[in-house]
Amino acid sequence: MEELKIKTMADMMAAGETPEVLFWVGCAGSFDDRAKKITKAFARLLTQAEVSFAVLGTEESCTGDPAKRAGNEFLFQMQAVTNIEVMNAYEVKKVVTTCPHCFNTLKNEYPALGGNYEVMHHTTFLKQLLEEGRLKIEGGAFKGKRITFHDPCYLGRANKIFEAPRELIQKLDAELVEMKSCKTRGLCCGAGGAQMFKEPEKGNKDVNIERTEQALETQPEIIAAACPFCNTMMTDGVKNKEKEGAIKVMDVAELLDGIEDL
């Protein structure tokens, strides 16, 4: 596979260039081994579509989403103000991210603090690239495969984006099957609201197990996700059910990227 050439905003600025879009990688996309694969898949797709993009690299910092949802508004706003200063210094206009939590925070909670950007989730961005003919889907590695899509809360209910990821899956000629709770009534994977970083409260089941059971009811070959945290939760759920041999949990970007790999 061709080596990825990732430019930072600093590289671009030094070369006197302005990228079309800033790829906000996020903490999971930067550090989590599973999520890094999603980051790379999306970066490959951007490269393939000849999108001029850059990342902030070491100048990027947590958006503050988990701190805010844990109740630490101070820490959130400190993070936000710092990130906004960096992005405004680079005169960022458009941001794309593979993480719905970063997406929601950047899009909805940064403007009032002085960060006004056009923020897109990568599924919407990819759909646009396909529609504009900049990205082409060839071959059909996923043709006829049963794929169920898990709606990330912060993409779906929180920002009413339900169709973009589904349209991408359908473009693969795959068989999209819906879980009993989907779209506006989609069940959370259990990671949101900073739950990702703590032990769950006492109950009779973990949320990700409940959601995985709903996914397994559709007898999928692939569980598609569009959030690195959902991906982790669903992957753990599939492992818990000892189905990891038969069922893969993949990001929509990986599905699109996988066509040429497979």
Binding site: A70, F74, K160
Partner: protein, 445 residues
């Protein structure tokens, strides 16, 4: 003596309305114990929201059976109120069937009221069965024991009784009309009560008049009592659903408000020219000096829309049945968050009543005395509850405000979260990775 019934009626009516006005005053006072929040923007959007969600019931029908039955009862309530207007005017003026001059239209109206009244009874019976025989999960959760359960059933009984009185009154009236009884003009059509009237065959004119009058009085007194029952009941939603949807949050569900008081502090921290030891400017108002509490410990720390939400909640439990935490056996129930908020607010109101409107600390709080920390920390902020609510209630905002209090005023986050926040603060990521390694992925194969 001729005007005695009119006088009694006017006294009863005035008493009932006066009592209701007093309760509305108390309701307003309690709601405005909350913090200020400006929701007067985007008026056309707000009217649209109220039209669709409250008037149009669009979110009720997400659950088709309950939604359909609710629409029948709702339409019944609204349309039959036209008849209540006639009854009130008859009562004041001492007339009988004042609107009879409408002729064919009147026949149509009375006929429609009767059919609706019958459908309401059928719906209410189904509601009762769902609650008490089928015992649908959301109706038998722990927070539904005691008063909430009795309240729900009481409303159903009252509705059946009111509809029964209305139909019996019409049946007696119909019989009297057939007899050509003086004072009972031939007016209206009686598609339902004519069946009840068959059971009244052979009754004397005076017994029928007694029955008709008794039903008439009991019906209107029942309605006026029900009006005054609202304040103590979840049934308050029939009024508050309208302002509640009008003032509902219009931003994307995922957007959690940025605390302005925090923004001020953060700006000061980031401003290199700010003097950290500066005393506040002398001419600044009192509320500038006092940043207030961060987050919510008690109901007064919440904003008035959140408090109105609490009074509006109908305890239907759609939020709780969609909640991932509740579905997996955790203690959290978004409905309970709303019910606790209302109960505590009522308690605060009683303290105010007992002390001539002055607040005396009663040593209790919404936090811990009503809502436990375990409930608050179980939330995934997924917005399933706000999506599910048929009238735009936002339990999530209360949960977040209470978490804010725990974290910013008490530093009482679960330890795992303190570790996460420490990482964000020091490394710019929730995990202990170095910010300088953020781009390493680009060079890994």
């Amino acid at each position: 003596m001729e005007y005695l019934p009119n006088v009694i009626f006017v006294l009863v009516l005035a008493g009932a309305i006066g009592l209701f006005a007093k309760n509305v005053g108390k309701l307003r006072r309690n709601i405005f114990l909350g913090q200020k929040v400006d929701r007067s923007d985007q008026k056309s959007e707000r009217w649209k929201m109220m039209g669709l969600v409250a008037l149009g019931q669009t979110k009720m029908v997400v659950r088709p059976i309950a939604g359909f039955l609710h629409i029948i009862v709702y339409l019944g309530f609204i349309i039959i109120n036209i008849e209540v207007l006639e009854i009130v005017l008859d009562g004041i003026l001492g007339t009988h069937r004042l609107f009879a001059f409408l002729g064919g239209v009147y026949d149509f109206l009375i006929g429609s009221f009767e059919i609706l009244a019958f459908l309401v009874v059928v719906s209410v019976v189904v509601f009762w069965l769902r609650r008490n025989s089928l015992k649908l999960a959301r109706f038998v959760k722990p927070e539904m024991k005691g008063w909430p359960k009795n309240d729900a059933n009481l409303i159903l009984y009252i509705e059946v009784v009111l509809m029964g009185l209305f139909l019996t009154m019409n049946a007696a009236d119909y019989q009297l009309q057939q007899m050509g009884s003086e004072h009972y003009v031939e007016a209206g059509s009686f598609p339902i009560s004519s069946f009840i009237a068959q059971g009244l065959a052979g009754w004397s004119e005076s017994s029928l008049i007694l029955l008709e009058r008794a039903c008439w009085w009991l019906h209107i007194i029942g309605i006026l009592s029900f009006l005054n029952y609202l304040y103590y009941s979840k049934h308050l939603h029939i009024i508050l659903a309208f302002p509640n949807t009008w003032y509902a949050k219009l931003q994307p569900a995922g957007e959690i408000n940025n605390l302005e008081s925090v923004t001020q502090e953060v700006k000061m921290m980031m401003d290199p020219s700010a003097d950290p030891f500066a005393a506040p400017a002398e001419d600044s108002g009192a509320d500038v000096d006092d940043p207030g509490t961060f987050g919510a410990k008690d109901v007064q720390d919440l904003n008035w829309v959140q408090l109105m939400n609490a009074y509006t909640c109908t305890e239907c439990g759609r939020c709780t049945s969609e909640c991932p935490a509740n579905q997996t056996g955790k203690l959290l129930s978004p409905r309970k968050i709303m019910m606790d908020t209302r109960d505590r607010l009522e308690e605060v109101g009683k303290v105010l009543d007992a002390n001539k409107g002055e607040w005396k600390d009663d040593g209790k709080n919404l936090l811990d005395d009503y809502i436990t920390r375990e409930e608050l920390w179980a939330c995934t902020t997924c917005n399933a509850c706000t999506q599910a609510c048929p009238i735009g209630i936002d339990p999530l905002s209360i949960i977040v405000d209470m978490r804010r209090y725990l974290v910013m005023e008490e530093s009482a986050a679960p330890n795992d979260l303190n570790v996460m926040m420490g990482n964000v603060e020091n490394n710019g990521a929730p995990w202990p990775f170095n910010q300088m390694d953020r781009l390493n992925w680009a060079n890994e194969s």
